[in-house]
Amino acid sequence: MVPRLIAALLLLGAFSPLPLSAQVEPSATTLGGYGEVHYANSSAAGVPGRVNLARFVLFVGHRFNDRITLRSEVEVEDAKVAGGESGGEIALEQAYLDFRVGDQFTLRAGLLLLPIGIINEMHEPPTFNGVSRPTFSEVVLPSTWRDIGVGALGSVPGVPGLGYRAFIVNGLLAQGFDGASGIRGGRQEGRDASFANPALTGRLEWSRAGLKLGGSAYYGGSANGDSTLGTGAFDAPITLIAADARYDIGAFAFRAEAANISVPDAGAINSVFGNGVGKRIAGWYAEGAYNLLRVLAPASAHKLNGFVRYERFNTQASVPPGTALDGALARRITTVGLTYKPVWNVALKADYQFRRDRAHAAEDEVVALGVGYQF
């Protein structure tokens, strides 16, 4: 039966090569990128406005075959790095190899983005409202958080819509922590780094049309073999949990994130390095947006999102005995603004921020304008 069928097909000339429209090039190199330019002006007295080419990123991907791919991003921050002047940065934001075994399992190794929160893995400017990323996503969750590591990602079999990522990455360094920006300064980012403290990190993500829920976790030491903090791999541990949600319905889009970071050895860390890191770093934000063109120009495919975001976080939600509590670090930021997208991957942005803190020490209002793109 089968040989006869094949013979018949042969006669019909059915063994012709696959037509072009259904073919995939066996190997190919892809170029992409994203960038953003900012203008910001604070209401604080004597502070002039600033303009900055905040990011210019080039993406180069290569498919070696149907299973092995490379992805890399080279980033220039603040437009230029000049000899002897501070500021500016040229850095690899990611550079990793993926080995796709199947839908349930892809092996990843290299300089990778930690799967924590919304912004860290997905921060192309047209994907978020506001000229700058939420301050929560810089100060509490230190995006862009990347490091060298290895792990796996894929979909969870038997649970439609559920995906996972799990990696072992190089850990943080306690000496870089501080009161105002928490664990941010402890990132090593793959630069000829100490590997005294590995860390485990992972994320579960569940999707339906319009809805995405995520939960992330991180656990790793930060002692770096310090004689006071400990020489064990998980000494001076950092424990992070975070949750996020995104929901789009009609012309509305909502998102929210929350995170809690525990630094149980903050007292010892501060006694060694004097950096005032909180024992607990915590916060959240929630944002609602509405595409105004749905009312103003219902036929238009452009988008004009009006949005409001409220952030509340404290990098010293608790401090160990002996560490001074700074009330200015309990911050509340309200941002209202507009994002205009003539196409889905180009955004023109304007927003106004009200920045408040418990000590009323560093309060101001900031007007900001920006453009961003990705391709």
């Binding site: 042969l10 059915a14 696959l18 073919q23 995939v24 992409g32 149907d66 339906r208 049309a209 495919a301």
Partner: protein, 163 residues
């Protein structure tokens, strides 16, 4: 029966051998066609322009058509199947191979089922007729545009008398 379908697909050059796997693995394609059209279906193919259109039969009755296509995601092609009935109403979409690390939610049934019953006359615009997925914007746009194009191609071939 699955085996006959499988061999036919391989013979037709529609499913690529696993070693190459640049296109749809024939096993996945056969399973997808049986899921959408029912078990025991028979296929043959016609060439329209440079594309293969799979014709799906049960006995002597023509049930509909299917086409395997690729849409470019962020940096990888997404291989998907579009299946329509004889009136070119969309029966279902299947993502046969998804190669990128993010945006794989386009393969999930709750998103794909929005396309059922749509036809060449429908606009299929993301954010209106088709709900997007947060964090999968590129894939959602690519697959939706691809489906729109496939339906329009099928309608064109029907008009030209090829189907």
């Amino acid at each position: 029966m699955r085996r006959v379908l499988l061999l036919t697909l391989v013979a037709l050059g529609i499913g690529a051998p696993a070693a190459m796997s640049q296109s749809a693995p024939p096993k996945k394609l056969a399973a997808s066609l049986e899921r959408i059209f029912g078990r025991g279906v028979r296929v043959d193919s016609i060439i329209a322009d440079t594309a293969i259109v799979i014709r799906v039969h049960a006995g002597d009755a023509l049930l509909g058509y299917a086409a395997v296509r690729n849409a470019m995601g962020k940096d990888q092609p997404i291989t998907y199947l579009v299946a329509v009935d004889t009136a070119l109403a969309l029966l279902d979409v299947d993502v046969l191979v998804y190669r990128e690390p993010y945006g794989g939610e386009v393969a999930y049934e709750p998103w794909r089922r929005q396309f059922r019953g749509k036809g060449p006359g429908d606009h299929l615009e993301v954010g209106r007729e088709i709900r997007g997925i947060s964090g999968a914007t590129i894939s959602v746009n690519a697959v939706t545009a691809g489906i729109r194009r496939a339906l329009s191609d099928l309608a064109g071939w029907r008009k030209a008398g090829v189907l």
